[in-house]
C-alpha cells in the first residue's frame, strides 16, 4: 500500500509539474485600430531630426512589417523628385533615398504594391499630368508613361489610385472645382464624375470635401475595402480627420468614432498605413515650419492592411 501511495504521489505531483503563465488568450487579437489617434513626432536619419520643410506630400504603405514612406522632395534647382524612407517602427525613418526623377518634376506620389512589384504614380510639378513609374521592392523606379487623363483643364489638386480587380481607378479633383471629384478608369480612358452616396443620414457630409485620401484596404483574411480619409473643418476652426468605408465605391459609411484626429493646422496631404502591429496616419501640416507629422494607434494586431 505504501508503495502504491508513493507511486501515486509521484505520478500526480511530479509527473504533472506546476507552472504558471501570464494568462494567455488575448495575444495577437485583431485590433480595433481606427482611432482615436494621437499626434506624435516622427524623425528621420541618424540625427533623428524631424522631416524638414523640403519634404512633403507623404504617402505610406506597409511592406513586410515595415512602413515605407514616399515623399516629394524639393531641395534644389533640379526640381522636385520622389524619395522613399523606411521605418521598422513607423516613427523613426532611415535617411530617404531618391527613387524617381523626371524632367517635368514630380509631386504627390501614390504607390500600388503587387507582390514584389510596385507602381508609382506622381503628378508633374505643374500638376498638369500624371506620370507612371514601375519598380520593385528592391530597386529604383523606371518611367513608364504619361497617363492620358483627358478633360482636365485646371491643375490637379488631389489624386488617389486604387486597383479594383484588374481595373485601375484614379480619383482626383482640381483646383478649379475642389469638391467635384472625378474618376478616370485606365482601361476606358474616360473621365466621369465620382457619384457616391455618402453615409446617408448618418453622415454630416453631403459631399466629399476637397482633401480626401482614398486607399484600398484589405482585411487580413477578407475582402477589399475602399477607405477614405477626409479632412473637414469643424465649427471651432480645427481640421478633423474622418474615416469612411465602402465595399463598392458607391455606398459609403462613416466610422462610428469619427473624427479620429484633429489639428488646428491646415493639412496639405495625408495618408494611412499599417505595419504588423499598429495603424499610422502621416500628414503634411501647413504650419509655419511645414512638417510631416504622424499619428499612431496601437492595440493588438491590425486586421486591416493598407
Amino acid at each position: 500500500m505504501k508503495r502504491i501511495a508513493l507511486s501515486l504521489f509521484f505520478f500526480v505531483c511530479c509527473g504533472c509539474g506546476t507552472g504558471g503563465s501570464s494568462g494567455g488568450g488575448a495575444v495577437a487579437l485583431p485590433s480595433a485600430g481606427l482611432g482615436p489617434y494621437v499626434w506624435t513626432d516622427i524623425t528621420v536619419g541618424n540625427e533623428k531630426a524631424p522631416f524638414g520643410p523640403e519634404y512633403g506630400a507623404p504617402y505610406a504603405i506597409g511592406v513586410d512589417g515595415e512602413v515605407w514612406l514616399y515623399l516629394r522632395h524639393c531641395a534644389d534647382a533640379t526640381g522636385c523628385r520622389i524619395m522613399m524612407a523606411k521605418s521598422t517602427d513607423g516613427l523613426h525613418f532611415d535617411s530617404p533615398q531618391v527613387i524617381a526623377t523626371h524632367p517635368m518634376g514630380l509631386d504627390h506620389p501614390v504607390v500600388l504594391k503587387e507582390n514584389d512589384k510596385i507602381k508609382l504614380f506622381a503628378m508633374s510639378s505643374a500638376r498638369d499630368a500624371v506620370l507612371e513609374f514601375t519598380g520593385s521592392k528592391t530597386g529604383e523606379f523606371r518611367f513608364k508613361r504619361l497617363l492620358p487623363i483627358p478633360s482636365v483643364t485646371a491643375p490637379l489638386l488631389e489624386l488617389s489610385v486604387v486597383e479594383l480587380g484588374a481595373r485601375q481607378m484614379f480619383l482626383f479633383n482640381t483646383t478649379a472645382a475642389p469638391t467635384e471629384w472625378r474618376v478616370f478608369h485606365d482601361d476606358d480612358e474616360s473621365v466621369t464624375a465620382f457619384v457616391s452616396e455618402l453615409c446617408g443620414s448618418a453622415c454630416e457630409l453631403s459631399s466629399w470635401p476637397s482633401l480626401v485620401s482614398f486607399k484600398l484596404a484589405r482585411s487580413d483574411r477578407g475582402r477589399a475595402i475602399l477607405r477614405a480619409l477626409a479632412v473637414t473643418d469643424n465649427n471651432s476652426g480645427d481640421n478633423e480627420l474622418n474615416v469612411y468605408g465602402s465595399f463598392d465605391g458607391y455606398t459609403w459609411h462613416a466610422y462610428e468614432n469619427n473624427p479620429v484626429l484633429s489639428t488646428p493646422a491646415d493639412i496639405n496631404r495625408l495618408t494611412m498605413a499599417t505595419d504588423s502591429r499598429r495603424f499610422f496616419i502621416y500628414a503634411e501640416l501647413d504650419t509655419q515650419e511645414r512638417t510631416i507629422r504622424g499619428a499612431i494607434h496601437e492595440s493588438g494586431v491590425p486586421s486591416i492592411i493598407y
Binding site: C16, G20, S21, G23, G25, P30, R223, S246
Partner: protein, 434 residues
C-alpha cells in the same frame, strides 16, 4: 473506512464546474467520446450520470491527470490561449439503504495553473468566447445514485460555485479648488457568494447487453460584480457646494455560463465489443452577454451635472445545439492476470455562436472531437486492495473547423477575419479498488 469516506463526502457537499463540459472527466470517458452516460459506474459517473453510482460494486479511488493544449488562431495569429491541465481525483463508494443499492461519488478537477479565471472584454474585441474562461476552473462534483427497481437507478448531484461581488467605498471631502485638500478614505468590501445548480440522471439496464441513460444538468452563470461608491461633500475652500454627494459605478460581467443540458444515451455490450451512442441538447440560447454591464449614478444636487448613460450590451443570441457522441470499446486481451481494452470515440459539437457580422466578435467554431485510448486491468489482491488495479490512458483531438467572418459594415473596426484551431490533449489515471 467507507463510512468515514461517506461522512467526508456529505460534509463536503459542494462542487464547482466546468472544464468537464469542454473535455470530459477521466480517460475512459474521454477515449469513448463522452458517450458513457448509459453505463458509467465509476467516479466519472458524478459528472456523466450520477445514477450509475448505484451500480458501483466496490470502493474505488481514481488518481489521474489531464492536459489539454489549445492551438487557436485568428487570421493566422496564435492567441496563445492557456493550457488546461490539472489533477483529476475520484472516488466511488457503494453501499445500501433499505436493501436498495446506493452509491456515492466525488470527483475533483484541480487545475495546476489557474484555480479560477475571469476575463471580461469589450463586446467588439474578438475573443474565444468558450475557451477563455471555461476550462480554467476548479471542479468538484459530488453525487449519489440509488437503485429504484431492479436494473433502474436514479442519481442526483448538487454543485456550488463561487460568485464574486465587491465594492470599493470612498468617503470624504472633495475640494474642487485644490485637489491637495481632497481627503478620501477607502474601504473594500468583497463577498464570495455561492451559486448552486442541480444535476440528475436515470440509468436502466433491462438486460446484460443493453443500457440506457438520461441525464439533466441545470444551467448556471457566474458574474463578476464590481462597484465603486464615492460619497462625501464637495467643497470649495471652506464652503460646502454639495452636501453628501454620491457617485456610484457598478459593473456586472457574466464571466462564465454553462447551459442547461439533457442527454440521452444508449449502449450495447456484447463481449468483447461495447458500443455507446449519446445525444445531448444544450440550451445555449440563454447565454447572457459576456460584455460588462455598467451602471453609473451621479448625485451632486443642487449642481446639475449629468453623465451619459453607458451603452448596455445586447443579447448575444446564441442558439441551442445538439451534440451526438459515439464510443466503441473492444476487449482485446483477457487473461487471469491482465485485461486490455482499446477505445475510440467521436463527437460533433456545433458552435452555438451566431454569425458575427455585426459589432460583436464572439469567436467559436464547430468542433469535431476524435479520441483514442486504452485500459488495462491488472488483477491484484492483498489485505487492503480487493480488486484490479486499472490504468487508463486517452488522447483527444478536437478540431475547430475553419470559419470565416464577413462583416456587414465596411467601416467595421475589426473587419473580416478567419479563425480556426485545434485542441490536443492526453489523460491518464490509475484506479485502485478496495
Amino acid at each position: 473506512m467507507r463510512w468515514i469516506l461517506l461522512w467526508i463526502l456529505l460534509a463536503a457537499n459542494l462542487s464547482l464546474a466546468n472544464p468537464l463540459d469542454s473535455f470530459g472527466l477521466g480517460p475512459r470517458a474521454i477515449a469513448l467520446g463522452g458517450a458513457v452516460a448509459s453505463d458509467v459506474r465509476d467516479s466519472a459517473a458524478t459528472y456523466y450520470n450520477p445514477a450509475g453510482l448505484a451500480f458501483s460494486d466496490k470502493l474505488r479511488m481514481d488518481f489521474g491527470y489531464v492536459l489539454m493544449r489549445p492551438h487557436l488562431e485568428i487570421n493566422g495569429h496564435s492567441q496563445e490561449v492557456d493550457d488546461s491541465r490539472g489533477v483529476q481525483l475520484g472516488i466511488s463508494v457503494p453501499g445500501s439503504i433499505l436493501s436498495k443499492r446506493l452509491g456515492i461519488g466525488l470527483s475533483v478537477h484541480l487545475p495546476d495553473e489557474h484555480i479560477s479565471r475571469i476575463r471580461a472584454l469589450p463586446a467588439q474585441q474578438p475573443r474565444w468566447i468558450l475557451w477563455d474562461n471555461r476550462p480554467q476552473r476548479i471542479v468538484i462534483t459530488s453525487s449519489a445514485g440509488l437503485e429504484l427497481l431492479d436494473g433502474l437507478s436514479f442519481g442526483f448531484g448538487l454543485t456550488y460555485l463561487a460568485n464574486t461581488a465587491g465594492v470599493l467605498n470612498l468617503t470624504g471631502d472633495v475640494d474642487l479648488a485644490d485637489p491637495e485638500l481632497t481627503r478620501l478614505l477607502a474601504g473594500v468590501d468583497v463577498d464570495l457568494t455561492a451559486v448552486r445548480y442541480v444535476s440528475a440522471g436515470l440509468q436502466w439496464h433491462p438486460d446484460p447487453h443493453w443500457s440506457f441513460g438520461l441525464t439533466y444538468r441545470e444551467d448556471f452563470r457566474l458574474a463578476l460584480d464590481i462597484g465603486v461608491d464615492v460619497s462625501g461633500d464637495v467643497v470649495v475652500g471652506d464652503s460646502v457646494v454639495v452636501e453628501q454627494g454620491q457617485f456610484i459605478v457598478r459593473s456586472v460581467s457574466r464571466t462564465m455560463f454553462s447551459p442547461q443540458q439533457v442527454t440521452g444515451s444508449v449502449s450495447y455490450n456484447e463481449s468483447p465489443l461495447r458500443i455507446g451512442f449519446e445525444l445531448g441538447w444544450l440550451q445555449y440560447s440563454r447565454f447572457p452577454s459576456p460584455a460588462a454591464q455598467v451602471d453609473i449614478e451621479l448625485d451632486l444636487s443642487p449642481l446639475t451635472v449629468a453623465l451619459p448613460t453607458p451603452a448596455q450590451p445586447g443579447p448575444p443570441r446564441f442558439r441551442d445545439i445538439m451534440i451526438p457522441r459515439i464510443g466503441v470499446e473492444w476487449l482485446t486481451l483477457k487473461t487471469q492476470a491482465l485485461s486490455m481494452m482499446l477505445r475510440t470515440g467521436y463527437f460533433f459539437e456545433a458552435s452555438p455562436v451566431p454569425s458575427q457580422r455585426g459589432q460583436t466578435n464572439f469567436v467559436d467554431n464547430d468542433k469535431h472531437g476524435i479520441s483514442f485510448g486504452a485500459g488495462f486491468e491488472i488483477q491484484t489482491r492483498g489485505a487492503i486492495i480487493d480488486g484490479p488495479l486499472t490504468i487508463d490512458i486517452a488522447a483527444l483531438w478536437i478540431e475547430l473547423a475553419n470559419h470565416h467572418v464577413e462583416k456587414s459594415n465596411p467601416v467595421d473596426p475589426i473587419g473580416d477575419y478567419t479563425h480556426r484551431g485545434r485542441l490536443l490533449g492526453v489523460s491518464s489515471s490509475i484506479g485502485v479498488t478496495f
